[in-house]
């Protein structure tokens, strides 16, 4: 049985450029939490779209069979880092079904704030 979809969208991307502290767990970040509940590795590509310039990508990650990956957009490097303090969106594609959830930890303020939603399944 297919556990999920092969294409997902997240319209609301934004990595705050500031953080009240520098520990990795508290640094402002945004994640695409990817669940691959199937028996084959998921080859995943991410296309990042912006308000006023051409899309960037694909970024590539692999999520093993029966594994999850909580991917920080902050950690993406190739083809280029995702800019901070900049609205973006993304389209995530996989060669096998996956489920994607979007989460942000915002620590610009001296206290953390969280948001999360299941991403939107396209196909």
């Amino acid at each position: 049985m297919d556990v999920g979809h092969r294409m997902w969208a997240i319209p609301e991307g934004y990595i705050p450029g500031k953080s009240f502290q520098s520990e990795r767990e508290f640094v402002s970040h945004e994640t695409a939490c990817i669940l691959n509940a199937g028996g084959a590795p998921a080859n995943v590509t991410i296309e990042v779209l912006f308000e006023d310039r051409e899309p960037v990508g694909p970024y590539r990650v692999v999520v093993g069979a029966k594994r999850t990956l909580h991917l920080r957009f902050n950690d993406l490097r190739d083809p280029e880092p995702v800019p901070r303090d900049t609205p973006y969106a993304c389209v995530i594609r996989s060669d096998v079904p996956i489920v994607v959830q979007h989460t942000r930890l915002d620590s610009r303020d001296p206290h953390i704030s969280l948001l999360s939603t299941i991403a939107f399944p396209i196909t």
Copy 2:
């Protein structure tokens, strides 16, 4: 392939009238984050509904092909500003498929708080 839907609903609209500081990034605001992953511009209209008076709109925005727009309801002016401290809801229509996510940053309190959800797809 259609990336999204042409009509979306957000039942929970509320722009807090206060903010603990005046910088744009920290002012209490509400956004409809719109992703247009397709090859044609999206002509988008927004109808705002209230608890005790007739709907207002349409507000009109354009989201370019392969672009996102993180639209602040705070910034809408025509036909009239969206009132603060007032429950509202909205229906968003587009001539091409889009994906919509709803986010609020509430800074009435001296620390920010966030909420977000993918909006509800109608058609």
Copy 3:
């Protein structure tokens, strides 16, 4: 066109019993934000379910045509108030299509925290 569904579910209900201040806008509360984008009033019933006793309800509200209602569970009185500090869930039914979003403002802590999600459409 039907804008929404006639039956919705919210599994996560919890009204915190404490609030750091008594102003209505900051009192800990939970809402079902209901959008009725159609041309006829929505007659809505709410059934509240618990962990360890029989369901309570129906609670009844009307949402006018082309109106929204941001209903606070805190305000429900008939047949009985929704208990504080108690896990609950609810099923919301309407005679016309509606869209429902679930939001909580938690102000037990001296700073507010928010959560929100589109409710789950059943039929």
Copy 4:
């Protein structure tokens, strides 16, 4: 009528290992809020997946007919506790239809922060 689905996924699991206080209501926790609106008990199993090791489970819980259960992942013990400060995901299966919502209360910081979303329905 079926109220919900028999299989759900939550990609974003993370139980913070710290809490600013020890009262149960404020301890950092993550819940799967399960609604069983039907007339028969729900026999539920939970499989927990990780980034870098084999899945663990099944964990088993029963949700009575016409009841909700706000299950804390923190409380799971058999076959083993869910590790803290560790990304995970889960697949939830039931023999009757249920609805699942995912919520986290994060109190690592001296103020609580919340996130919530309806989980993703598979079948």
